[in-house]
Amino acid sequence: MSAERLLWYTAVMAGVTYLIRVLPLVLFRREIKSPFVKSFLYYIPYAVLGAMTIPAVFSATRSLVSACVGLAVAVIMAWHRKGLLPVAIAACAAVFVTEWLMRML
């Protein structure tokens, strides 16, 4: 494939994606008054993250078992209000150790 065509593809991808991201930010400068819309926007991050995490997390690692252990560790630590970085690191470490144990056994 020619470099020119690849550059066109890249420009179309990046252009469309950027427009989607920038237009609401630039065009929407008023404060929203409707309680429904305000509540809706308040819940959006939680809903999106929930939908993105499950079930995708179960196929994020090499084995279902290690993903489950990592998820469990993350939930327990988050329940005790640990920060983002500690939870993320502990979850990764849990996956690493679990997969290592699985190979040993």
Partner: protein, 254 residues
């Protein structure tokens, strides 16, 4: 904001972005590897990652390129898969500090990814507004991680051992959990919204026919559905629109 506060806000942003960047490496690594396997030169894969900064859209774009699809098809695929970012930008537009002019809005728009949005949202509660300097700090590691991961994947897919890549795969999700679990523990409303979104997302993943929908679509539908349900069942009390515990938790950090 004085200089010390600005430095602090920048640092907070930078460290919030660290787990995102780490998590991105494993995903963008895969993207770089796949792109090269499909016959794309490494520079193109790296350029796509740097300019797009999105996962699902890029993987779908790869398929369109491999099939020599038309530019219209490419534009439509990106529109559908990435439409969720419009929701997130809209939500951001309600939480920005007073310093956000056109240029600053255009800068943060570039880094509007699911993860950056989520983390910044967790900081903009309790009437707090997002600061530009915090956002700049927050953007750094995700951009480096995403682009850098693609570089590694495209140039030398054998560098990271499998076991490390597998473990890094959970970084992003660990972070998501850290964001949603504490407020869900404290507020039945948030718990209901999260659980309905999870239930809907599982339905779309496993049910026949429904599972053919693209990931981007599923996230849009689940996000809109569960949030609308929450807004209908539990309208957030005026005037502050945010639960008190988060306010307390983030007040001294950001």
């Amino acid at each position: 904001m004085n200089a010390a506060e600005r430095r602090q806000a920048f640092k907070t942003g930078f460290f919030d972005g660290l787990p995102i960047g780490l998590g991105y490496i494993s995903v963008s690594f895969t993207f770089g590897m796949m792109a090269v396997e499909k016959g794309m030169p490494a520079w193109a894969a790296i350029l796509i990652s740097f300019t797009n900064l999105t996962s699902a859209g890029q993987f779908a774009g790869l398929d369109v390129i491999a099939a020599s699809g038309s530019m219209i098809e490419m534009a439509l695929v990106q529109l559908v898969i990435n439409l969720r970012y419009a929701l997130m930008s809209l939500s951001w537009s309600q939480r920005l500090g007073p310093e956000f002019n056109l240029i600053k809005r255009m800068i943060i728009a570039y880094a509007d990814t699911d993860e950056v949005f989520a983390v910044s949202s967790a900081r903009a509660v309790g009437g707090k507004r997002l600061r530009f300097i915090y956002m700049v700090g927050l953007m750094i590691m995700p951009v480096i991680g995403w682009t850098g991961g693609t570089v590694i994947g495209a140039l030398a897919s054998a560098i990271l051992p499998d076991a490390v890549r597998s473990a890094l795969g959970l970084a992003i999700y660990g972070m998501f959990i850290a964001i949603i679990v504490p407020p869900a523990r404290d507020h039945r409303s948030v718990a209901v919204v999260v659980l309905s979104a999870v239930a809907a997302s599982c339905l779309f993943h496993f049910a026949p026919v429904l599972k053919r929908l693209s990931t981007g679509f599923v996230i849009i539908i689940c996000g809109i559905g569960a949030s609308a349900l929450g807004a209908w069942l539990f309208p957030v009390p005026e005037p502050d629109c945010k639960p008190p515990d988060l306010e307390e938790r983030s007040a001294h950090e950001c």
